[in-house]
């Protein structure tokens, strides 16, 4: 119960901060719309996909995932901010432990990613013709995509000590993940090493889940989509927990004896 209380307190705090700094949320919403309006509109006229699908319709699931990915992962900057300005020490002193702190941060980042993606999803009737079940299914996949993105962001943030470092590193990581996911162009014709990377890239499988929700063809099986995303989430969360509070890992280990008077 204490862990859940702690996680909810962190989520509430993060959402209150967002309410007082709405530019973060608005910026996150603007990014996918810029892609939709500027890039997708331009390519729609010239891109000819093998499936014959209009480019704007093809890229739409990818743009939704972009909103989840950036909204979920960039929210982890709060963790770096808290470490830089001392709040993290208060959180690590919680009886609930680092796992609860990370879970709370995952929850708030998932809400942020999903919120941004839902605004983009509201534009669906102007791009494709979704049915209500497709839209509901899409909402579910966007929550999953946001949660996985949140954990990936936390993994990157787990040891970083400055907001500037986080901003630099996260963008370097997110753009290759997005470009090599089949979100913006079909990944089937990529050179083999890149195709191999795409097959284990979590963003690939986020995009596929959203494509399935809209009834678009997917390259990999549904089972593989789920397995890859679950594996990434579990491994990233465990790694983040280990890296997040290195002192906790030392506790309980037998300590080597020191000679008296050793320096």
């Amino acid at each position: 119960m204490s862990a859940l209380t702690t996680a909810l307190a962190i989520t509430t705090r993060d959402l209150r901060r967002v309410r007082r700094q709405p530019s973060r949320l608005l910026g996150g919403i603007a990014r996918p719309f810029v892609w939709l309006l500027l890039v997708a509109t331009g390519y729609n006229a010239i891109a000819q996909l093998p499936s014959g699908m209009p480019y704007r319709e093809f890229v739409y699931p990818g743009v939704l995932v972009m909103a989840c990915l950036f909204g979920g992962a960039l929210t982890a900057v709060s963790t770096v901010y808290d470490r830089e300005f001392g709040m993290l020490r208060l959180m690590l002193a919680s009886p609930a432990g680092p796992g609860a702190v990370l879970f709370g941060r995952t929850l708030s980042a998932t809400v942020m990613g999903t919120t941004q993606a839902l605004v983009v999803l509201a534009a669906a009737p102007f791009i494709t013709s979704p049915t209500l079940p497709q839209l509901l299914l899409a909402v579910g996949t966007l929550v999953v995509a946001s949660a996985v993105s949140a954990v990936l962001g936390l993994l990157v943030a787990s040891r970083l000590r400055s907001v500037e470092n986080f901003a630099g590193i996260i963008n370097v990581l997110l753009f290759p993940l997005l470009f090599l996911s089949g979100a913006l162009y079909p990944a089937e014709q990529l050179p083999r090493p890149l195709a191999l990377f795409a097959s284990v890239n979590p963003v690939t499988h986020m995009v596929e889940l959203v494509r399935r929700a809209f009834g678009q063809p997917a390259e990999y099986g549904f089972g593989l989509n789920v397995v890859v995303l679950v594996a990434w989430t579990v491994v990233a969360f465990l790694l983040a927990t280990l890296l997040f509070d290195p002192e906790a890992r030392l506790i309980g280990r037998p300590r080597p004896a020191r000679a008296a008077g050793a320096p």
């Binding site: 204490s2 307190a9 901060r17 001392g86 208060l90 009886p95 506790i251």
Partner: protein, 307 residues
């Protein structure tokens, strides 16, 4: 006899090759007020972080109300309230929201949060500022909100790392008054560090740290006893000879050379010594005053607590 708030035995921590804290032996009974004194780098913060379960020890052990700080961190943390050197108040939240957040961090059940937050606001006099954003508060009020944050779950032990740094006298007085009330009302034990030595004088016990080692440990009265009733501080080229003469005549209880001056502990015949100082050659200044913990620290380390 109740379980002590803190029991530490040979507690130490290294950072690589640097020994930040050599070996701390400490017992703090419930309800006691204990001060840690020392300049920056003495090991105070390391000692506090170890006792707060936020650092793992390189050697030794410590218990908080009987709970081992390494083996039973969760149980130890439930009894602790912590105030760090850095502010732990979110500037983008109101005072009330900050306290609600802290209640969640401390594991206070949601149904009890409102009462706990209201109580903390009232005790600290923060009621009128409850709806104000923390970034709009003065540094003093922000610090008081930080103390309210640390005490709202009624911890049995408070660990405060330099809680009064940067506070004006009014806020310092308010803070110590609040802590005194907490100790009387709830029997809260308080371990604190400070650069303001006068704040340590009401403590039940004071530990002096230098370069990671405990150099003195006792009640303020015990630590000041070697200086006698008063300290005569003399400057000038003749200061050392004057002090030696007093010592030879049995008038000086303790002589401590200090950066061009000499501090002389006196036990009786203060007026006589002061007259001698007025007529002595080679003295540019002579001041008679009560002994302080700064004197006690200087006598043991040859260094000042404050820069």
């Amino acid at each position: 006899m109740s379980t002590p708030a803190i029991e530490a035995a040979g507690l130490g921590r290294d950072y690589g090759e640097v020994r930040a804290l050599e070996a701390l032996d400490l017992v703090v009974p419930s309800g006691a007020l204990v001060g840690l004194l020392g300049p920056n780098g003495a090991g105070k913060t390391t000692a506090m972080l170890l006792l707060a379960t936020l650092l793992s020890p390189s050697r030794g052990s410590a218990r908080i109300f009987g709970h081992d700080v390494t083996g039973a961190r969760r149980a130890a943390r439930c009894r602790l309230g912590l105030v760090f050197q850095e502010p732990t108040v979110d500037p983008f939240l109101t005072v009330r929201e900050n306290l609600e957040f802290a209640a969640g961090m401390a594991g206070v059940a949601r149904r009890d949060t409102r009462a706990a937050v209201d109580g903390a606001l009232e005790r600290m006099g923060l009621g009128p500022r409850a709806g104000q954003l923390a970034r709009e508060l003065s540094g003093g009020w922000r610090r008081l909100a930080d103390i309210a944050r640390a005490t709202l779950h009624a911890p049995a032990l408070l660990i405060l790392d330099e809680p009064t740094v940067g506070l004006d006298p009014e806020h310092r007085e308010r803070l110590w008054g609040f802590l005194d009330t907490e100790r009387r009302a709830r029997g809260t034990a308080v371990l604190f560090s400070t650069h303001y030595l006068d704040e340590a004088e009401p403590a039940d016990r004071v530990l002096m740290l230098a370069k990671g080692r405990v150099v003195a440990d006792g009640t303020p009265r015990e630590l000041l006893a070697p200086f006698g009733d008063a300290v005569l501080e003399v400057d000038g080229p003749g200061a050392a000879a004057f002090a030696a003469a007093l010592q030879g005549e049995g008038l000086a209880k303790l002589v401590v050379p200090s950066e061009g001056a000499v501090r002389i502990g006196l036990d009786g015949r203060k007026e006589h010594v002061l007259e001698r100082a007025a007529g002595a050659t080679g003295l540019t200044r002579s001041v008679l005053r009560a002994p302080t913990l700064e004197d006690a620290y200087f006598a043991r380390t040859g260094a000042r607590v404050t820069a």
